[in-house]
Symmetry: C2
Subunit: 237 residues, 2 copies
């Protein structure tokens, strides 16, 4: 017998923003069929992704925790993805499909991208798109994100004040993510552009402890927080 190319598939499985009911039918079907699951997690415990999908994970699955600290230590993060990629590759080589659980969507700011970069040339990959926290924020705030021919900017609050301002000036609507300790900088730019008073603010969208704030009542925000603004304010007719 000659060596054959591995036929097992690596799935990037979008599981949505937090509500277990926001998994897609396709994600549930794959969860119930795939023998190996991998999920990002903190240094201890199951992590958010596994908790979101928990009700759909059958007993007896092989599970790989991709553990990393909540820091910006790039070298440690890369090493964690290297180790996870090696563990996943071993299962794929042995013919076992592997699904990586991804909060939100796998290819929209998803950590699955770093596993795809390591394994995508070696194994068949299928990505199952998921509901993003961006869309969940609009739904939870009852705030339309964009309409007609709006230009939209998705802006991580970690960017510089000048970069945030350039994106806001070019767009009609904006979603500012990961606000956390960057709130003073973000508020300063939005005030300068006349957008602060209509800002819609939500923390931990779709997760336990979700909270909504008016602009004049927000003092500080956690990392998982989102601000929505629109040049036309809240006028949609």
């Amino acid at each position: 017998m000659s060596a054959t190319k591995p036929t097992a598939t690596l799935y990037g499985l979008g599981i949505g923003p937090g509500d277990p009911e926001l998994l897609t039918l396709k994600a549930v079907r794959i969860l119930q069929r795939v023998p190996v699951l991998a999920w990002p997690a903190p240094l201890e415990g199951d992590g958010m992704a596994r908790n979101i999908a928990a009700a759909h994970i059958p007993p007896g699955r092989i599970e790989i925790a991709i553990r990393m600290g909540f820091t910006s230590d790039r070298a440690g993060t890369e090493a964690a993805y290297d180790r996870a990629a090696a563990a996943i590759a071993a299962h794929l080589e042995a013919g076992r499909d592997v699904a990586v659980l991804c909060e939100g969507d796998p290819f929209f700011f998803g950590s699955f991208i770093y596993l795809f970069a390591r394994l995508g040339q070696r194994f068949p990959v299928e990505v199952i798109p998921g509901v993003s926290s961006v869309m969940a924020a609009g739904a939870a705030l009852l705030a339309p994100l964009c309409a007609w021919d709006d230009g939209v900017a998705i802006i991580p609050a970690t960017r510089s004040e000048a970069e945030i301002e350039a994106l806001l000036r070019a767009a009609d609507a904006a979603v500012i993510m990961k606000v956390g300790r960057h709130l003073p900088k973000v508020r300063s730019v939005l005030r300068r552009l006349g957008l602060w008073d209509q800002a819609r603010i939500i923390e931990r969208v779709g997760l336990p402890g979700q909270r909504v704030f008016a602009p004049d009542e927000v003092a500080e925000l956690p990392y998982f927080s989102i601000i929505l603004v629109h040049r036309r304010g809240n006028a949609w007719l």
Copy 2:
């Protein structure tokens, strides 16, 4: 008896980009429970939204087709939403929940926004977020959309060349939507910015007839087409 506030709920129901398996569990549950469904449709036939959800619609539902031509006739469009809002309001007043089927996500370029603008002050509204065609495009192309602290621009190709260029210059990654007859303009901007050769192009994502193109093989595109570009090209490590 005194008049009571209506308690029926208007649902904006995201049903995803086209694959019936990309409905969420929540959308399916609401579809099976709500007595009245409304869906956007062309002047004849069921339209895409109803087709996507068809397998989950129980027999005997009251259905409202929101019919409009595929044109930019603003007055005709407004009149169609006015009529649909009146028909929906009558059911809500009578205590019947109504779910409006929305391709993709209801508040992300969704026509539900125009019904929400007309009815959101009068009735309780709940929005069920859905998988957007933006995320479906990344998945279908096996092309990550954005990572780390990328700034992202979502750009309708209907905008002017200068507006498109301003958004592309401010962002790291971009999703250009509704390309269609605007392909020459979009290609011209992307060439000028050195982004055309790495463009990822897909038409009718998630729908029957989905097709992928390399930049040098695309001659024309239909309205429902998406181009993805990223300043870092396809390097994700």
